[in-house]
Point group: C2
Chain length 153, copies 2
C-alpha cells in the first residue's frame, strides 16, 4: 500500500469540508484551489467519496460538495480506503495466486499482522482530531470547536 496522490487529495478535501462543518455546501473550485488539487481530478475523487456516502454532490449552478457525516465520526482509514481500496501491503495477503504456499506461510502472517496494525491506527484517527492541529492546508481555515473528538469506529 502507498498513499497515492489521489488518496492524499481525498484526505485534504475531506479535511477542508470538515473544517467548514457537516452539511455545508462548498463549490468544487473553492476546494480545488484551497487544497491545491487539480480541479478535474478532484471531480473524479469526489465521485468515489460520494459513492461511499462520505459526501453528497449537488449538480447545477451553485453546485458543489457537502460533507454528510460529523468529522469526529470519519476516520482517516475510511477516506483512504474509499480511494485506494482496502489496504494491503503485498499481493500474498490478498491473493494466493502469487505465492503457492499462501494461507499457511510465516511471512504472510507477518504481513497480515502489520497490515492490521496499520489499519487499526488509521481507523483510530478522526478528522476532528486532525483539525485540532495544523494541517496540510495552504491557507488557514477557522475550525469550530465542536468538531473535536474521537471517531466511533
Amino acid at each position: 500500500m502507498r498513499l497515492t496522490r489521489a488518496g492524499e487529495y481525498a484526505v485534504r478535501c475531506v479535511l477542508y469540508l470538515s473544517a467548514k462543518g457537516k452539511g455545508t455546501l462548498i463549490g468544487r473550485k473553492e476546494i480545488a484551489e484551497h487544497c491545491d488539487i487539480p480541479d478535474k481530478f478532484l471531480a473524479k475523487i469526489a465521485q468515489q467519496l460520494a459513492r461511499v456516502k462520505l459526501i453528497e454532490i449537488s449538480q447545477g449552478a451553485r453546485g458543489g460538495y457537502v460533507l454528510k457525516r460529523e468529522p469526529r465520526d470519519i476516520s482517516l482509514l475510511e477516506v483512504v480506503e474509499a480511494i485506494i481500496g482496502e489496504i494491503a501491503l503485498n499481493d500474498c495477503v490478498t491473493s494466493s495466486a502469487v505465492c503457492r504456499a499462501s494461507g499457511n506461510c510465516a511471512v504472510n502472517r507477518v504481513w497480515i499482522k502489520v497490515r492490521n496494525q496499520l489499519r487499526d491506527t488509521l481507523a483510530g484517527v478522526s478528522f476532528a482530531e486532525l483539525l485540532t492541529e495544523d494541517s496540510c492546508f495552504l491557507a488557514p481555515v477557522s475550525v469550530p470547536l465542536d468538531f473535536r473528538g474521537k471517531p466511533k469506529r
Copy 2:
C-alpha cells in the same frame, strides 16, 4: 510502501539461504528454481543483498551465494528495505515538495506514526523465527534447530 515482487523474492531468497545455514554456498539456479524466482531477476536482487553485506557472492564456476549473518540476527525489515529502500507510506513523509505545509502537519504526523509502527514490527521478526513455521517454499527444506531466536535489532 508496498512489498514489491522484488522484495518478496528477496525474502524468499534469504529464507532459503537461512534454512541452509550461514556460510553455506548455494548456486543461483538452485535458489531460483526452488523459490520460483526468475533466474536473471534473482541475480539483480542478489546484488542488492550483497551491497548491504547480507550475502556474499562468489563468481566463477561453482559460484553462488552465501549468507553472511545468522538468521536470528537478520530482520524482515532489513531484507525488505535493502530492496525497496526505506519504507515510506507517502510522499509527504519523505519530501516536503508535495505538501507545502509539510513538517508541521497533523496528517503527516499520523503517517509518520504508522510508518514507524510498521518498521518496528518488521524489525522484530527474524528469519530464524520465520523458519520455525511453514514458509513460502515450494518444496520442503530441512531447518537446523539452532537457527531459532530473536533478532538483535
